[in-house]
Each structure stands twice: as C-alpha cells, then as structure tokens.
Symmetry: C2
Subunit: 152 residues, 2 copies
DNA sequence: GGAAATCCGAGTATTTTAGTATGAATTGAA
DNA sequence: TTCAATTCATACTAAAATACTCGGATTTCC
C-alpha cells in the first residue's frame, strides 16, 4: 500500500512550482536543489505532468516550468493520477478500465477495496496545491513564533 | 498506491476461514481451490497470519486452520498489517517506526500522506470479517432473488 | 504404517523501481 | 552569432520486490 517515488517526488515538485506561481518560469534544476531530488529523474516525472496538462514548459535559456492553472485549481488527486495512474488498491477496482475478474459477481473483498479506493480519492481530490501553500505559511509562522519565544 | 497479492490473497483466505468458522479446521488446500489461489503461495501468507496471532493451526491429518478469534473480532486492518506491514503511503508516515527525513519539520506533502494513511486505516479498521460475511449473505440473497425473477 | 496435513527454507523468473547516461533541440542574452 | 541554460527524448541498468515454485521435514489421525 505504498506510493512510488514518482508520486512522492512529483507532488513535492508541483508544490515547489505552486510556491513560485505568478513569477518567471522555474527551471527544474532549482526545484531539484530545493527539494533535494535528482534533476534527471525529475525530468521524467515532469514530462508526465506536462502530458497530463498540469504544467507548461518554456524552453531555452531562462526557461522552466509553470503550473498550467492556478494552484487552487490543481488537486493532489490529479497530480497523483498523472504520475501513478488510476487509483486502485487492486486492479479489479481501478478507477478506469478495471481488470475483469471471473469472481466479480460474488467477490466480497472487492467491496473492501472499492471503499479504500474511494476513501483515498476523496482525500486526494479534496486537497489543492493552494491548500498546501496555506499549510506551509501556517507552519512557517508557527516555527517563527516558536523560535522567538526561545529567544532565537 | 497498490496492494501486493499478499494482502489481496490473504484477505480472501481469511474471509474463507471466516465463512467456515465454528466447524472443523480448514485445510489450506480447500481454501486454495475455492479462492482459486496457489496452495504453496498461500502457505507463506498464512504463516504470517499465524505469527501475527490471527489464525491457529492444527497439524497432521484432518488438520488445517481456524481463526484465532471470532470473525467479528478480527478486522481487515489487522490482516493487511500482518501481511503488508504498517500502513504507509510513504515511509516517513509509517504507523510504526516512521523513517526520519531531514525535511520533516517543514515538509508539507507529509501532511497529505498522513491524511491518506489515516483515511485508509479508518476504512480497514472499521471492517471486520463478520461484516464481510454479512455482505456475502446479502449478495447471495440478491443473486437468488434476481435469478428467480428471471425464471432461473 | 500411510496418508493428510502443516511447517520451513531455498531458489527463481519476471517486473518494477529508481534512477543514470547521452545527446539533440530550443532560445535568451552577451 | 555564439554561448550557456534549459527542455526534450530515448536508451540503458543495477537493485529490489514480487509472485511464485520446489523439495523435503515433521506431525498426527485413521
């Protein structure tokens, strides 16, 4: 029940772009440095995100990537699906093209996995990049206040 | 975001044992036939379940496996954790021994994965084998009624 | 004793993961 | 116009995980 690094790293990258939304295109190299990820590997991930229409690229010097829509209009669910494919604890309950199983009529575990799938999707689809940015702001302030109290 | 066959098949096996709860020990071979799984592979899965205290074994001829507790007292969550380890979309939010990450203080995606983890756990921990047996009964009746109406 | 089972450890083909490597194409700026 | 920064594309690969199979030892009912 584990995400691969594609979804894990890809979300970090998209969050990074969200935090710089509204400025110039962000080169992947700077994302890689800030998020401590391999630049070459990130290239492959961002390619999927571009093909899914979630980011736009600007080629050449001073180029980079920008979100295709404002952060409030991109959900974590879209990002994860673009990177990892349809959400599905098991293949027979995939969101699209579920794999047919000859026991489908009476398979009870299917009911369990459908509920798990829906519960995951509900969480992921309810969180936007803008939400994450707000969380980041909050934590930033908390940390600052904490440091001040300690006399830092 | 996918379960391995361990959790997938293991739950089917436990459900099979639940449906036969209260009778003699059930040999793995019959479980394998009914659920259409490899017997040898099931052996490995049931070993984990036994070590986790979810099933008891009876060795020798006429032996087999029985649930260690009544079906209402065994949740899907326990079964999945026994087979797949702690629930964790990513390692840094594992239910036990989360893997430390040097960005933990300000990593926002962690918040997302914690919510996903909790949401999965809530579903799995809320479903018992007895619940699954009830669902099976319901579906069985539905199918029978449907067949009758069709004049089967 | 023999058959039916569990128990145990080793082996293995395939797939997935998590990248690396190489280089071509594009474009802003000096 | 050249250079450097950047995206884009494809191929490759080491390591790990997956999903088993295999062989045999042990236990126990009949």
């Amino acid at each position: 029940m584990r995400l691969s690094t594609r979804g894990h790293y890809g979300l970090k990258a998209m969050f990074d772009l969200a935090q710089h939304y509204g400025t110039e295109p962000i080169p992947l190299k700077s994302v890689a440095v800030r998020q401590n990820l391999s630049e070459h590997y990130l290239e492959q991930l961002i390619a999927r995100l571009r093909k899914a229409g979630l980011v736009k690229s600007v080629r050449g010097a001073q180029g980079g990537y920008i979100l295709a829509r404002e952060p409030g209009k991109i959900t974590v669910g879209e990002i994860i699906r673009a990177l990892e494919g349809p959400i599905a604890p098991v293949d027979c309950v995939k969101e699209v093209e579920p794999k047919e199983c000859n026991q489908a009529d009476y398979c009870i575990s299917r009911i369990v996995w459908t509920r798990v799938r829906d519960s995951i999707a509900e969480v992921l689809d309810s969180i936007s990049l803008a939400d994450m940015c707000r969380d980041a702001e909050k934590i930033h302030h908390q940390n600052r206040d904490f440091d001040q109290k300690r006399g830092g």
